[in-house]
Assembly symmetry: C2
Homo-oligomer: 413 residues x 2
């Protein structure tokens, strides 16, 4: 017998029929002898609908009140789900953030869970009743409702699993698991059996939308095994787990890509100390996150070039900040470009294998794909390329590292 936290969201609870189907699935898990705690997110589209309502009333809705509004989405699903379970003859009890005692800080719209007082959950498990917890929402120390941000229900589920020391946290989605790359962009993408937390973090920050990034951080911190699987079929998905010795043998586990960045290029900046610091401090002060940075020199010894990437929605903001510097640096020229993509290879094995990056560069070069920028971390190499090459690049890298074949640490299926 295991203690399992199951999280269902979006289309899995998209209408009352789907909610009934999920209730049946949860009851099956219980009848096979396990204890289940359920975490639900809002019906697909509901959070967007509520945000639109708020924006009809104000351009920038008050963050506290917007959280009160958004929290209704999960309240609807947990009550409907509990009604469905009880209708099927089992016991269930819905718990809102304040009832499940999920405490957070006070950052409305992107709150972080600080504590879960698990008494109400244990009490219900003790009674043989399925606790049904509202994802995405919590309570600050003053009793205000907070929400955790997009995808926050994943984090609720993992945090609950950590607090209960559950055996596994199952995240049900509309895909079958974590893939070596996006199956929509390359048909040979293969479902991974296992992946380490760090690899999953890199995949997620590179745009793989399977899991909320904070849920993976949480799972890593508290060593909660996550099972990403489909609510539509009854087959194993992907286990996200602590790094295992055998994983090191694999150089690359996945290829990720993202088209969410813009590149800004500065020419004619003075080549003196402190310039980069001044630029990036000004940008950071406006909450714009810079990812890759490349500094080059020109023929002119007094002037330098600088390129960096920012999220696309922040491009105009960043340019506005930089325009303000033209009064001091009259040679400054600013250009920008959104037709770029970032392609990354990810794998914990890179730590112990040399030459992974150069194999990536060669593979891209062979296809005449020009690399605009490069950045590397311990377990990732990312290249910025022209976005029209994205699909080709993903395919080439997938082939180069033989990702269509089972990885060495995976049990042959």
């Amino acid at each position: 017998m295991a203690l399992i936290v199951q999280k269902y969201g979006g289309t899995s609870v998209g209408d009352t029929e789907r909610i009934k189907a999920v209730a049946k699935r949860v009851i099956e898990t219980r009848e096979s002898g396990h204890d289940v705690v359920v975490v639900l997110s809002a019906m697909a589209g509901e959070t967007d609908r509520l945000i639109q309502l708020a924006h009809k009333v104000a351009n920038e809705p008050d963050p506290r009140e917007q959280d009160v509004l958004l929290a209704t989405g999960e309240q609807v699903t947990i009550s409907l789900f509990s009604i469905a379970v009880k209708q099927m003859g089992h016991e269930a009890l819905s718990l809102l953030g304040h009832q499940a005692r999920i405490y957070t800080d006070r950052s409305y719209g992107r709150a972080r869970i600080s504590e879960i007082r698990t008494e109400p959950i244990w009490h219900n498990l003790y009674k043989g009743c399925i606790p049904v917890i509202a994802g995405f929402q919590g309570l600050d120390e003053r009793g205000n409702i907070t929400t955790l941000g997009r995808g926050g229900s994943d984090t609720t589920a993992v945090a609950v699993a950590a607090a209960l020391a559950a055996d596994v946290c199952e995240i049900y989605t509309d895909v079958a698991g974590v893939y070596t790359t996006d199956p929509d962009i390359y048909h040979k993408a293969r479902k991974l059996q296992r992946i380490s937390y760090d690899e999953m973090l890199e995949m997620t920050s590179m745009g793989a939308k399977v899991l909320h990034i904070r849920s993976v951080e949480f799972a890593k911190k508290y060593n909660v095994p996550i099972h990403v699987r489909s609510s539509l079929v009854d087959e194993p998905g992907t286990m996200v787990v602590k790094e295992e010795k055998s994983m090191e043998k694999v150089m690359v586990s996945g290829v990720a890509y993202s088209k969410s960045d813009a590149r800004i290029t500065l020419a004619g900046i003075p080549d003196v100390p402190g310039v980069a610091a001044r630029i990036f401090t000004a940008i950071a002060n406006e909450d714009v996150v810079v990812d890759m940075i490349i500094q080059g020199s020109t023929g002119d010894t007094d002037l330098a070039n600088l390129s960096f990437t920012v999220p696309r929605p922040d491009r105009q903001k960043a340019i506005r900040i930089l325009e303000g510097m033209k009064t001091d640096w009259q040679t400054l020229e600013i250009s920008s470009d959104e037709n770029i993509a970032k392609v990354s290879i990810i794998g914990v094995g890179m730590r112990h294998h040399a030459g992974v990056a150069s194999r990536m560069f060669q593979a891209l070069a062979k296809e005449n794909i020009n690399i605009l920028m490069i950045s590397t971390s311990e377990i990732k190499v990312s290249c910025v390329i022209e976005d029209r090459h994205t699909a080709k690049a993903v395919q080439v890298l997938h082939e180069e590292f033989e990702l269509d074949k089972p990885l060495q640490h995976e049990i042959p299926e």
Copy 2:
């Protein structure tokens, strides 16, 4: 400067434009120097939509979970309203049942308020912030969400006004106040300036839908003046207040009618002691509320007749119970009739004036309206008639008691 509780509901908060209009109205009250506490109900139609959702999942949704579901309706309006007020440059803070500390018993779907711990409301008033309270919902002593039943937001508003010892509780609706009778049935119906709690209770239980009956009981108990008025126009409505000496001069303040009852007639029941007790105990045990009862005798000395009224939805249930008695009373014959209406005249002055009832009977007789049953209370006389005569009866009684003219205790307009 006064402390005013304002309640808006239904169509007044029916969409985001109406919510903004209400926010403006509340701010105007504040800017004219008063302190305001706002109580809101759900957007028009929202509670019905949620009930339908629940019934898609189960025929008889679990009552606890249905209350969790229904409570989202008010959560949406109070957050949107607070967003609107803040957008207009004023301070507002939404308070859910658990945040406003509105405690109730545990009767899901028809809970009664037991206590309001007013600290959060006072704290916000002290800070110059408008508290915006979710109507209709509360919390039982175990932290479960409860709801007060249809129209329950009126009761929340009056209870909050009582707990704060507010100067007045303003109930905003889509009608201009309380009328001498339903303006839809008789065009000479006149808006009352003042009406006593007891008269309002009789009006409400007779089908006038202006106020939730429990809110009037609450107001009477704690002596909270209620001002029923329209959210669409800025003119005085009707004050519902403690009975005043001058009100006694008026025999009749209003004419009410209801078409919600059915009449059941029993013939051939044994004329021995204990029979009526047996019948009405059996019916009461099945939660059917009997209103009027008439016992008559037939020519046959051993057998009696009995007529009584029950709510129309309970007619079949009552008949089923009575059919079971045929085994003991083989002469029993059961018939029933839904084509009836109840017409009532209401006025606290009746206590001190003789002959009010006979004037009513004569007025109806003059129009050839046959009276089927009669019941009286201290401040009300009700007659059951054929329902096709309803409009005529209301008109005749309105004229007989000169309700189109200002009542004696009303200040001439």
